[in-house]
Symmetry: C2
Subunit: 236 residues, 2 copies
């Protein structure tokens, strides 16, 4: 169990023109990590993986467990290293991210970010399930359901990546949320921590696994500037 | 021995502002592959790794073996898979690259490119050894020795990478050369194949290993546009 590596299936870039077909099973993905984030086949919601179990936050607001045979076009996972948490309190998202990046000197380093505790406010969005012919990521996420909670217990899980890797993944922070009662989940748009424990796990290695047997992937003509711009619109 | 993965130490991006200090030993690097390319501590020449042995093409035109304790700031390696070669003949660099990319549908796939045989012409350049304070990559390679040979037997080794990974590595082809008699080596600027055998090894996985304990790396403020432009100037 290698706790110094992120394993990522697919790239954020391949979602941009609309390559939403699942190309890895959840069962195979979980061989490479017990914790992480992603999306399901058809851009169907937001995936949160905690303690070896994968959950889907759906566009109708429900949260359900994902079975081993379901597939994903994009996901990042890692094996969690044992570590003590650091207390954090009374922090909004922007201040939290600035503090975590600075305190841990993350700018050029991959890291997993996990926060367990109580939140004064949480606001998420969930990508709506797409059917073929697929729209681009910017079009698919132009209107999407948002969910809010106040005084919520739960977990933030996600990653920080160096900006050099924008396109391969999201440069900077990419965070998802799952409430302890599984009533609220999704891609984090905003939050305010009440009292929580923070764990930052740095990685020396970032491994990208590409769907090199998928005909749509092989044929796509990607454009780096379009991808950069779309990630800044759709994933922040 | 995993033949489906490229292991890369460092990024091409970190060379751009001049982070030339070696951060992995050749001995450690060779645990992750028996074949590959790179550069030595201080941007000292061009590294060619064939059949488990690492060589340095020096700016004075000499080629020497690298010992296990020497260090590198950047290198890509893989374990070579057994495969039959495909004959190629009478091809210049541009036509060769176009044909290899198209025939193997490489555009969005990482691959190793190896060509063993006879060459009508080979032209290489070798990065000149830098001392601190380091100049940027563009400044350091503005004037560099070039070497030419005609009717040369030898080996091209290098990689094709999807353009999405420009910055992390060189998007497109990045090829080095070593002659069979070890009298000519370096980063390939031009060549014309006479008769040779081509091997293309595709990879599902690209693993980047970052020097996350190196203070200069942690503190550098990288800029993606500067890196993209510098790679296009210095590495093609």
């Amino acid at each position: 169990m290698d706790t110094s590596k992120i394993f990522q299936h697919g790239t954020l870039g391949l979602l941009v023109p609309g390559l939403y077909d699942g190309t890895i099973t959840a069962g195979e993905l979980l061989k490479h990590g017990d914790t992480g984030i992603g999306t399901l086949d058809g851009l169907n919601g937001e995936v949160i993986i905690l303690d070896g179990q994968a959950y889907q936050a759906r566009e109708d607001g429900q949260v359900r467990q994902i079975s081993a045979t379901e597939t994903l076009p994009f996901a990042s996972v890692h094996f969690e290293a044992a570590q003590a948490g650091t207390p954090v309190s009374d922090l909004g998202q922007a201040a939290f991210q600035q503090q975590v990046q600075a305190d841990n000197q993350l700018t050029n380093v991959f890291a997993a970010i996990r926060v367990d505790g109580s939140f004064k406010r949480v606001k998420t969005r969930v990508a709506p399930h797409q059917t073929k012919p697929y729209q681009t990521l910017v079009a698919a996420t132009a209107t999407q359901p948002e969910f809010e909670g106040t005084d919520v217990k739960g977990t933030i899980i996600g990653y920080f990546a160096p900006h050099l890797f924008q396109g391969a993944t999201v440069g900077g922070f990419h965070l998802h949320f799952l409430s302890a009662d599984h009533q609220l989940g999704g891609h984090l748009l905003d939050f305010e921590i009440d009292q929580a424990q923070l764990k930052v796990q740095k990685f020396a290695d970032f491994q990208v696994h590409l769907p090199i047997d998928n005909a749509d992937y092989l044929q796509e003509q990607f454009d780096n500037e379009t991808i950069d711009s779309a990630i800044n619109k759709a994933e922040r």
